[in-house]
Amino acid sequence: MDNDEKENKNLTRRTLLKGAALGLAGVALPLDRANASFWESFFQKHFREMNDAEIKKVISRLEKEYAEKYKKAITIGNEKPLPGVLFGYGLDLSRCIGCRRCVYACVDENNQSLDPQIHWITVLRFKKGEKWVSLEESEKYYNPETVPQEDYFYMPVQCQQCENPPCVKSCPTQATWKDPDGIVVIDYNWCIGCRYCMAACPYGARRFNWAAPNRPSEKINPNTHYLGNRPRYKGVVEKCTFCVQRTRSAQGRYPACVEACPVGARKFGNLLDPESEMRYLIKHKRVFRLKEDLNTNPKFYYFFAYGN
């Protein structure tokens, strides 16, 4: 190999590398989309590292984006966890009739995608009198004329808001965490869609946006929370947040599923308040938590009010 040829080759390699670097930069940061909103979202900090002013700025940017996309005003709240509050949920298995009113009340409150369909609550149907409850043998597609049916009982499952949440541990970007009031929340702008949390969740409570969520603008609930029911993106994970936009609001409203249940099987309250209905039911009723042996320590209590 003579020198000339070697020099030539070196030059071509250098030019190639230069060109490749430029080209890659072009692909990663498309200049035609280089408006302020894009750059701001690109350099957005982690939610818990932002101060209030920075969060406010992010929220106003998102509100503008949503207004453009949905052609209506959507407010994004950022209510902080209340001091002295640890949320707990109770579900009375002796009363649930499996009517799925909660499922669809949740969809409407929390802006889930209609097609592809996303439900945060799954109602499982079990045959009565089996040796034990096998989640694998439960039926979630049951569709009889009327419910409840003889010989069956129903168990709705949603995020159990674990005190020791495996999903949070598995998240490589810390896009999901447990707030001091016990709610496990997700920052949809920080989620990279790796779905490790879905694999880690023993309750199958997390849902993935395989496609861009599709919900007509007129059906969007405009009262949202940054960590709750604001419209999501393609490729992010979502789940039940105990209706953070309602429960942390000034009025302290009940979650939508509690208010939708026609038989009053769903209970909600502050576990730290000895007067709350949650504390009453834990004290007086037979209570169990799903897959207690996994040490996830859920704050979702299944109980039997009828028939001690």
Binding site: R100, Y142, Y254, V258, L281
Partner: protein, 170 residues
């Protein structure tokens, strides 16, 4: 300091021995604070009952109703009949077994005569449905909002559609 505290506790204990039932008695009559009960679900135009019954002679013999209210077939409490709960002297009210008169708005006291444990749990937020605020004002549903008192079991309803099966996704 210590003796002070001990006397304080002593006085409280003494008082609670003197009036052991005062607190429980009041708890049985009232529903918890910050709680509002929905109005009774009357059929339209049926209330006040006195608009027809005023001046009508009262027939106290148990019988099958033929002129009016034939649609009500009592499937609650076999052997019972209207005046076990309704007040023959003023139809706009209800009457407990002990003769006490209760308003329709407080009919839970009537149901609680037999269903005492349920009434207790209703007051504590376990039985029945609450809407409103977990931390503040709540609205409660009367027993009769969900249970038609003449045939109380909860009626079966049509379930909402099941989720889409993965196989059906286009």
């Amino acid at each position: 300091m210590k003796t002070c505290a001990i006397t304080g506790i002593g006085i409280v204990l003494f008082l609670s021995l003197l009036f052991p039932f005062s607190s429980t008695e009041s708890a049985q009559q009232d529903i918890p604070k910050k709680l509002f009960v929905t109005p009774p679900p009357f059929s339209e135009g049926i209330f006040p009952c006195s608009q027809c019954h005023a001046g009508m002679p009262v027939n106290r013999t148990p019988r099958k109703l033929e002129a009016m209210h034939q649609d009500i077939s009592l499937k609650h409490m076999p052997g019972g009949w209207c005046f076990d709960c309704h007040n023959p002297d003023n139809r706009d009210t209800l009457r407990l077994a002990n003769g006490k008169i209760v308003k329709f708005e407080e009919s839970y006291n009537l149901c609680g005569q037999c269903h005492g444990t349920i009434l207790r749990e209703w007051k504590n937020g376990l039985h029945g449905k609450r809407t409103g605020s977990w931390s503040g004002e709540k609205q409660y549903y009367l027993c009769v909002s969900c249970h038609w008192p003449h045939d109380p079991p909860f009626q079966p309803i049509k379930p909402l559609p099941p989720p889409v099966k993965p196989a059906d996704i286009k």
